[in-house]
Symmetry: none
């Protein structure tokens, strides 16, 4: 059963607003084994809206439409769907009484414009809206099921959960199980090449999609079908094993956790503390590490030593070293990691120094050149990296690489 | 000319991801007087995608499609559109050379999977992609214009601006002028109340929309019509003046700049340097300040002193003070700001200490309690704040408030 979500409202076609209800609806639908095949946004134009309904009726069996049920001139969802289906609108006195009562409780008279909310498409069930005047509608025709719901999140959420989901779950539509594997340190194309044998052996009922952002990749596995949960999980386990065999050096999470959460768990597990020395990341590394609840158990501090004077004063990086090698150098990264470990008395010191751009690059030291060092009780390791993209991307990839270096060090258990 | 934006990608049909490129595309289209009539999201299913293309060709004259141009199995946009249009794909050696060269510069061989990116729909122009391997395509048929663009924001943005917009602007369709006013320190409902008189006097042709996120508000003014640019600007000036009269204490930007950019300009203008001492923001304050190109001119460092030991060792916050008042206290915030100013030799010291949650709150010191202090040559000011929301929201609002305190201090010119 193909499912389509339609969001109605001219404001959703401006640069300032975005449909977010569909994310919530999708969570609920996935929970009962339904995926979404199409999402459409259309304005308050009756002709455009009629086209969208006709298209949806042609390609989808379940249609969830939100918005355009209000009392104003440009709310035309109810009327338009009735026209497209060739059905009449019926005036419902019980809805009028309910809306009047709602206004009365607030000490107001019902404005005449709300009368239009009392019309219902013939044959539709009315879905009660405890948080607003617009009732919802549920139409179960021969081939289609259609829900019309209001747009405001606080109105649509309880209506979807209390009225729409139970109606859909009643004719059990199967099972959906999702998993997310996350990777770093690998390009998208290389991942695809390594995934070739995996793609060739995806079990029935499972779909595999991949997603890439600078420094981060994820593989989403989705089982959808009528199998019992245990069988679906076994099937996913098998596929996950194949992916691990192909990509293990780059996989950091099998449950969708982000890299800072994975690193945090490892630090806790190993009983180690960390302190950072950041130059080009400017605090992003500390921000990410402290984004994890409970991070005070292992994160001591980050010295965001942007100026050379701060590198020297806070971490004891020799002035002569900075003059000889520059602040963006393997020597500086090493001295920063060692310095922050020593001055903070942490088990591990992690440093980043580089050129985030857009200015400050030279031929020998181009924008995107970033040194990362990790100092521990038995030594210090430095890597030289060259990241591409703008300032924000260089910062993001630098923090990602630094966290991954920390992760690998913790796993090795040195 | 009806315009449709199509976003391709199965991940965009999950609860975890959302198309945001369309907002940026809409801004650009609006700038040349074009509105958007339909937005569609579809997964990596060739059959669904073909349906979506057929629908779009039937109802829209301009079609902007993004995503599905990558090297992977499930990238099928190019192939599907060719099929729907009944056109052939042509292999282009010049694209192959360009992609190979891109990999070579990074010291890698091109994986074979990238070969599919060298195919072009016959009759289409190739749009260069400086930030990725996937070239874009531009098809100008008799009735339609179609752009195929890659999905990653950093790839699609320059391609849209440099290749698509100029092609569209060539047949200009009217005038659209937008302005963005940004505010902080005010709730959304309070802003709405204060805006009442403004709403009552909006000139013809201008629309006003507002947008709220934790700690940040923006008001968008959009002129759309056939007036000459000078008349539209005058009309917008008048409206902007009314908004400034109603809301000036909270406005920090009249040109859409973010708060860290505004603060950066003020620091430069006044010739002042700043250093931060961060506890609960964990580096976010430094990260934001260093997100502005050229920030090394005024940002010296941030001491992310998460542990009490770091507060004492780095900034000289007395151990006894922390024991008596706690790390989340006005006294600690004050000592941190004074301490970082002194030890970094900056003109201004800015500190944040609070409870980001979800744990660590008590009745006397609840989650969301945050002290912010600013130390300067003539004294120190501390504020007590209570922010609502989860860990990320508390961190975001704390950094926003700290930057706004710094902004106000710089404006006063003390």
């Amino acid at each position: 059963m193909k499912t389509e979500i339609i969001a109605v409202g001219s404001e959703l076609l401006t640069p300032d607003f975005q449909d977010t209800n569909s994310l919530f609806l999708t969570t609920g639908l996935n929970g009962i084994g339904l995926g979404v095949s199409f999402k459409t946004v259309v304005g308050d134009d009756e002709c455009d809206l009629a086209r969208v309904f006709r298209t949806a009726l042609g390609r989808s069996r379940l249609i969830l439409c939100m918005g355009g049920l209000g009392p104003t001139e440009d709310d035309r969802t109810r009327e338009t769907l009735a026209k497209v289906l060739g059905l009449n609108l019926v005036f419902r006195k019980d809805i009028l009484a309910r809306i009047r009562e709602r206004f009365r409780r607030r000490g107001m008279d019902m404005p005449p414009s709300n009368c239009k909310q009392c019309y219902v498409i013939e044959g539709a069930e009315v879905l009660d809206n405890p948080n607003g005047t617009a009732p919802g509608l549920w139409l179960a025709a021969a081939r289609h099921r259609i829900a019309l719901l209001p747009g405001p999140p606080r109105e649509i959420r309880p209506m979807f959960e209390n009225h729409v989901l139970p109606r859909l779950a009643a004719n059990g539509t199967g099972l959906m199980v999702r998993r997310e594997i996350r990777l770093t340190g690998l390009g998208e194309s290389s991942m695809e090449s390594l995934m070739k044998p995996v793609y060739a052996a995806v079990p029935a009922g499972i779909s595999v999609t991949t997603l890439a952002s600078p420094g981060d990749l994820s593989i989403h596995l989705t089982y959808r079908g009528a199998a019992p949960r245990a069988a679906a999980e076994t099937s996913l386990d098998g596929l996950e094993k194949k992916i691990r065999e192909a990509l293990s050096p780059w996989i950091y999470s099998l449950n969708g956790d982000n890299l800072e959460a994975v690193v945090g768990s490892l630090l806790k597990e190993k009983g180690k503390t960390v302190a950072c020395a950041e130059s080009c990341t400017g605090g992003l590394l500390g921000h990410r590490l402290t984004g994890v609840p409970g991070s005070s158990a292992y994160f001591l501090e980050s010295a965001v030593v942007y100026s050379n004077a701060a590198k020297t004063r806070r971490l004891g990086v020799p002035k002569a070293l900075l003059e000889k090698h520059g602040a963006v150098s393997a020597a500086a990264a090493r001295a920063m990691a060692v310095g922050v470990r020593k001055t903070s008395r942490s088990d591990i010191g992690l440093s980043v120094t580089g050129i985030a751009g857009p200015d400050g690059g030279t031929t020998r030291k181009p924008v995107g050149l970033v040194y990362i060092a990790l100092a521990h009780a038995k030594g210090t390791a430095v890597t030289r990296n060259h990241f591409f993209g703008g300032r924000a991307q260089v910062k993001a990839q630098s923090s990602q690489k630094a966290l991954d270096i920390l992760r690998k060090f913790l796993i090795k258990g040195t």
